[in-house]
Amino acid sequence: MTGGKEPSGRILIAEDETIIRLDLRELLERAGFEVCAEARDGEEAVALARTELPDLALLDVKMPRLDGIEAAQRILDERPIPIVMVTAYDEEELVLRAVEAGVFGYLVKPFRESDLLPAIATARARHEELAALREEAESLAEALAARKAIERAKGLLMAREGLAEAEAFARLRKASQISGRPLKVVAEALIATLDA
């Protein structure tokens, strides 16, 4: 296991073949996971992901009604969680589609008991990486938006009040200190007033 963490968490299994599903459930439970839901097709998997809120989903790629890839896509659209796709070794094409859908880990049939935990660990690690990247991108976007607002407010103050850049910025900062609001908020309020 990567990270040395004890396996834990609530898992959704979707597999149309009963024997294989029983096997997966038992392997997961023996490894310390809780199997919170079992689906027999893709549609059931999407519905159960919505109501049971699993931490991770293990989806067979070939299922009736809705295949594993479609199901993964819908689950990820609603609430991103790590997903392990169970495929047969001769389904390479499907694996490529799964990558595009944003699936993070693979288990290839026939699988060994020892294949299961690494596949789950990989899916979790990649999911966390992506979540961290997303958060970083969001804070970068926010910083950029703040920067833009402050520049624009400064420009307006300079033009309307005949201030130098440093003076304009000092004015904004003072307003921010007095009001106890972030610079960005003060700048946006100022833009709204002066630029109306």
Binding site: T18, I19, L24, V108
Partner: protein, 177 residues
């Protein structure tokens, strides 16, 4: 249970692993039971291949499984079979083959001298009943086999399993045709 090679092998591997995880089971019996489960799946393939059809005639399948399961047994069992002509699609037939061989195998092992098999249609449902004159319900009849049977009846056949003493032991599987 009916598809490409690696999925088939996966089913067999899963069957073996489920048995391997069972506790307090005689290893010789565990292996024998597992062989019977694999042969039950194979029997469905044989019937499908011979007839080149998607549906399996259940009476033919049950006859075949019965001959196979009785073969390795000490004689002295009297088996009565009353089988209607009913057919089932590939994957569900595989589920039924496993269910039958498990229940019939149990009856041969734990039952008395008489075992009866009944397959018939009732109000649009298929009924498979296996009865014996053994000592009835007992813990020895629970375990990996029966948990597989329960799951297959519920999830693949969409039916119900009723076990009862009458006296002896009777297992009845009812599912929509």
């Amino acid at each position: 249970m009916y598809g490409c090679f690696s999925s088939e092998i996966q089913t067999v591997a899963s069957l073996l692993r489920l048995q391997a995880h069972a506790e307090d089971v005689d290893p010789r019996k565990a292996l024998g039971d597992s062989v019977n489960r694999i042969l039950a799946i194979a029997a469905v393939h044989e019937v499908l291949t011979e007839h080149r059809e998607d549906d399996v005639e259940l009476d033919e399948l049950i006859d075949r499984l019965r001959a196979m399961l009785v073969q390795g047994l000490v004689s002295g069992k009297e088996i009565a079979a009353d089988l209607a002509s009913i057919s089932l699609a590939g994957q569900r037939a595989t589920a039924l083959a496993l269910v039958f061989s498990e229940l019939f195998g149990n009856a041969l092992e734990h039952g008395g001298a008489h075992v009866s098999i009944e397959l018939r249609q009732r109000d649009g449902d298929v009924v498979l009943a296996i009865a014996d004159d053994g000592v009835g319900m007992q813990e020895a009849r629970d375990g990996t086999g029966l948990s597989i049977v329960r799951a297959l009846v519920r999830d693949e056949l969409g039916g119900t399993l009723v076990l009862g003493d009458e006296p002896g032991f009777r297992a009845e599987v009812v599912f929509p045709a």
